[in-house]
Symmetry: C2
Subunit: 192 residues, 2 copies
């Protein structure tokens, strides 16, 4: 059911998904849905948690690699582009970021989903901040920019560019953004 | 009807809006909706066009002002933050960007809406690019960054940070992002 939900959420808005359809895709009888999930919101939370478990593991691996920070962040952009490229090849359309999609659709109507998504974005920012701070403090200080603000902007940048990639159905936009993000960080990307 | 639609879209997902509700808020009989708009998609397009007419005029005024480019772009961030602050004070919640919200919700299901939103985001990028290119070419050249890519990143950054502002119901996040965007552009913001 969770896999079916994640797959359907890649293609359509949460509000447009019915429990019957999710069960049909998962190949389980409708009655079993409410056995596992008291409500559609509980189901959404389970799909979010599952997706975040995977993404967090991927981010942790990339950001803790034994490579310069610029290379690690570049790899984060590449990996994000690849997720969207895979979605494009598999389904014909760029799925966008599941968390961003749900944040925009549900943040005012489903408070528990909103709360979970806040925690996830905060955790993403913290992971990037740890990576930026770990090496040395060259990212902090200039022009009153703190590391938290810088990390938050990296996440906002990634989120915004995935939105544009989805709109244009073009995963290449994600990696194209890296050179500019590198400049934001004061890193000059290596020549291609 | 268009004003009612824009107001409701600030609070909820497009998919969660019914024609009956839009008409109730607008104070018109339901029959008149389909007199003006053959479908809900036509209505969405009219709301988008109206919103873009206003936003384009505001962006044009800000970006063509007689001020240094850094000050004009900072004002764009301030104006965006103010729209979200006004929404928060008026309705209790940060509305986010109507175009971004609709892009994530509808880009795979409503092709005409998707096409219109692409045109709008392209126009935003072009407006920023014109502003960046107008003064002199100091923004181009370094590290293989072209002006279009830089302008696209400014728009992606703004879009991403408005998403985070909506998620956290905190308009201050928008302007807080400006210092980092300024660094991305190679501009050091003036001390506060």
């Amino acid at each position: 059911l969770i896999a079916a939900g994640a797959q359907l959420l890649g293609k359509r808005a949460y509000g447009a998904l019915g429990v019957a359809e999710i069960c049909a895709v998962a190949g389980v009888p409708k009655g079993s849905f409410y056995y596992f999930f008291p409500s559609k919101q509980d189901f959404a939370l389970a799909v979010i948690d599952e997706h975040w478990d995977q993404q967090r593991a991927q981010w942790a691996e990339i950001l803790s690699a034994a490579a310069p920070i610029g290379e690690r962040l570049h790899e984060l952009f590449r990996a994000t582009a690849k997720v969207q490229q895979d979605a494009l090849e598999g389904t014909g359309s760029v799925a966008g970021c599941m968390f961003g999609n749900l944040a925009l659709e549900l943040s005012s109507s489903e408070p528990e989903v909103n709360e979970r998504l806040r925690e996830i974005f905060d955790a993403q920012v913290e992971m990037v901040q740890t990576a930026l701070g770990g090496e040395h403090s060259r990212f902090a200080g200039s022009a009153g920019i703190d590391l938290g603000g810088l990390a938050s902007s990296v996440v906002a940048n990634l989120e915004g560019v995935v939105l544009l990639a989805k709109l244009h159905n073009d995963p290449a936009r994600v990696e194209a953004n890296w050179t500019v993000t590198a400049r934001m960080l004061g890193l000059e990307p290596a020549a291609a």
